[in-house]
């Protein structure tokens, strides 16, 4: 098990959210959209170098800006 950010995670890999860096505001917004500690997410793609990351959480597909993705730490195999 290693802890990495969503940016570092490879496409088509799965991981469990272990930490969300950043303020309450961001945590709450992500929480409302279904990304929270303990949630399993899989990464679909990463557009460009500094572009958004697309993840699947449950049945939702979410696009997260680069900065947000960097703040979401997941643990994966």
């Amino acid at each position: 098990m290693k802890k990495i950010s969503l940016i570092q995670m490879k496409a088509d890999h799965k991981g469990k959210v272990v930490e969300i860096l950043g303020g309450n505001n961001l945590q709450q917004r992500l929480m409302n959209m279904g990304i929270y500690r303990g949630r399993e997410v899989s990464k679909l793609s990463h557009i460009g170098l500094k572009g958004p990351v697309v993840v699947k959480a449950g049945r939702s597909i979410l696009a997260l800006g680069h900065g947000v993705a960097a703040k979401i730490i997941v643990s994966c195999e």
Binding site: A11, L26, Q28, R29, L30, M31, N32, M33, G34, Y36, R37, R39, L44, S45, H46, I47, G48, K50, G51, P52, V54, G58, R59, S60, I61, L62, A63, L64, G65, H66, G67, V68
Partner: protein
């Protein structure tokens, strides 16, 4: 006693479609989060009573994150809870995420009824939800609906009265998600399915390489289809009608009128080579209807057909992901592409939809970019109609200049304005294929809206010009502006009239350029200036309402400054 019914739910669950079903009031609905940024009201007949129904913008929770969500939540709290009923609309294909808001609504004591919407799509995707069990677990009524086809709506109406506040303990977010997990486990059964073609396309559209190829194909195809349909309507329907039916009719009706009398001038205008020339006569019954119905309406139809299709399929948020990188440099994020695309139809809904952006700074940048660099369909139709005659390169040139202006403006605003742009955080809806009937209804609604707004203003515009021409009042006014118009932009001084009329409507304004006999270069400069300069009055008012007076002035000054600079540069440096 229910006095008001509110429709609330996560973004993009079909609230507006349910609203139309309940009230018969047509509102714009699409397949992307944030279609509704204001609220609409209608009435539902329940027995003998007429109850007001309010369609709210989508919200993920009762704590607002965007201005659109703020609207929803503040309206919801306007009335005492015992006088309202809340219809919580849920996307059955994504039960889990939707239930957070449902639990909050119930815990806050709102009399709630749940509409499990899009149940047909859920079945297609192999998702089965036990509505009865869900009803027991939530202790509020749950009705399966499919708003697009109308299934379940009757039952929903019948059961509205059962909505009552139930007591349920308030949970923290973490606790809610645990609770939701338990509920979903009990009521939802997933059939194992292989990847369908649709899911394969959904996936491919959000991956870098395949996504870009698809985006390029979609944009290219859209542009060509809009032109193709527009031209077919003009060449096969509009032009034959005006030339073969309408013109002979007018000629017959006015055969006894004096050619230089006021009435003749007012209704028919100046004859060109002894004939009515729809583009140049400037009469209230000749040029005015021709501009609107013969030149603009065909493109309005074709543009909104394609835009509505893309909206309903759910492609636009996918485009937003791909453009996020570029738009970030302009101080926006990917989702700003939605207001910009709507702005290409008409700047007014475009600027209104900037409410889906979180910060004031972003909304200022997006609104300013739209009002300066995004030409609306009526204006584009006229540019195609007039400038197209000199060759497609000139038309492409206008777009290129506008694109450069937008880039530079965005880069500069992003560097100079205080604050930062928030990060992109967007749910990507599944691809859906709308029934043709639904699409046509939306198209019809938009065209009706266009005609109601455009026709009177066009008539007034042409009338004003016509009267000024007849009494020869122009010279004194135009002389004043000659140094700028002719000196800087190389246009005949009469072109100021077009720029001023542009305040009313841009399409009439371009129409005013037709009789001036401009050269290709002059027409190019004039069209670019009209696109960039002062927005039409409707856009101006919306800018004022959305940005406030101070920012309106800032935006306007930028507009004037940029128009003068670009006009001069085009005249002196580029097009010699």
């Amino acid at each position: 006693m229910i006095k008001k019914i509110y429709l609330i739910g996560n973004p993009n669950v079909g609230k507006s479609v349910i609203f139309s079903r309940l009230t018969g009031v047509q509102v714009i609905s699409s397949n992307f989060p944030g279609t509704t940024v204001g609220f609409s009201k209608g009435y539902l007949r329940l027995g003998d009573e007429k109850i007001e129904v309010v369609d709210l913008p989508g919200a993920y929770s009762l704590e607002p994150d965007t201005p659109a969500e703020e609207v929803a939540i503040s309206l919801l709290k306007e009335y005492p809870k015992n006088e309202i009923a809340v219809i919580n609309i849920i996307d059955s294909t994504n039960l889990e995420r939707n239930l957070l808001l449902t639990l909050q609504l119930i815990a806050e004591g709102f009399p709630t009824i749940v509409s499990l919407n899009m149940c047909d799509d859920a079945v297609h995707r192999g998702i089965h939800i036990d509505a009865e069990k869900l009803e027991k677990l939530l202790s509020v009524p749950v009705v399966s609906t499919c708003a697009v086809t109308g299934a379940g709506i009757k039952l929903l109406i019948q059961r509205i009265k059962e909505a009552a506040a139930v007591s349920r303990s308030k949970l923290t977010h973490e606790e809610s998600w645990v609770e939701i997990g338990k509920i979903v486990e009990q009521v939802q059964r997933l059939e194992h399915r292989h990847h369908t073609l649709r899911e394969a396309i959904e996936d491919a559209s959000v991956r870098p390489v395949t996504g870009l190829i698809m985006a390029a194909a979609v944009i290219f195809a859209s542009f060509h289809i809009v032109r193709f349909i527009g031209e077919i309507i003009i060449n096969r329907i509009a032009d034959p009608f005006f030339i073969n039916i309408y013109r002979p009719l007018l000629e017959k009706l006015t055969v006894n009128w004096q050619e230089h009398g006021f009435l003749f001038h007012f209704f028919i205008g100046e004859l060109v080579d002894g004939k009515i020339d729809f583009k140049q006569s400037l009469g209230v019954l000749t040029t005015a209807p021709y501009i609107e119905f013969g030149m603009v309406l065909p493109y309005v139809i074709s543009f909104y057909f394609i835009l509505s299709l893309l909206e309903d399929i759910g492609y636009l948020p996918r485009l937003a992901i791909l453009l996020d990188n570029l738009l970030h440099r302009l101080g926006l994020h990917g989702y700003a592409i939605i207001p910009v695309l709507l702005g290409f139809g008409c700047n007014v809904p475009g600027i209104l939809s900037t409410r889906i952006l979180e910060s004031k700074r972003e909304r200022f940048i997006a609104s300013t970019i739209i009002s300066i660099g995004v030409p609306c369909v009526p204006l584009q139709a006229m540019i195609f109609g007039l400038l197209g005659a000199y060759g497609g390169l000139y038309v492409a040139g206008v777009y290129l200049v506008l694109f450069c202006v937008v880039l530079i403006l965005g880069l500069v605003l992003n560097r100079t304005l205080h604050g930062y742009s928030p990060e992109f955080l967007l749910e990507i809806p599944p691809l859906r294929f709308p029934p043709l009937l639904v699409l046509m209804r939306k198209l019809f609604y938009r065209i009706k809206g266009f005609l109601i707004e455009a026709v009177p203003v066009v008539l007034i515009g042409v009338m004003a010009i016509n009267i000024l021409l007849y009494f020869e009042l122009f010279d004194s006014v135009t002389g004043l502006f000659a140094p700028i118009i002719s000196g800087l932009f190389g246009l005949p001084k009469e072109a100021i009239v077009a720029l001023v009329i542009g305040v009313l409507r841009k399409d009439v304004a371009v129409g005013m350029l037709m009789p001036l006999g401009l050269s290709a270069k002059q027409m190019f400069i004039a069209a670019t200036l009209l696109a960039m300069s002062f927005p039409c009055i409707a856009t101006f008012i919306v800018l004022w309402k959305e940005l406030g007076f101070k920012n309106l002035i800032k935006s306007t000054l930028l507009m004037i400054l940029l128009s003068v600079i670009v006009g001069t540069i085009l005249n002196y440096l580029i097009l010699r």
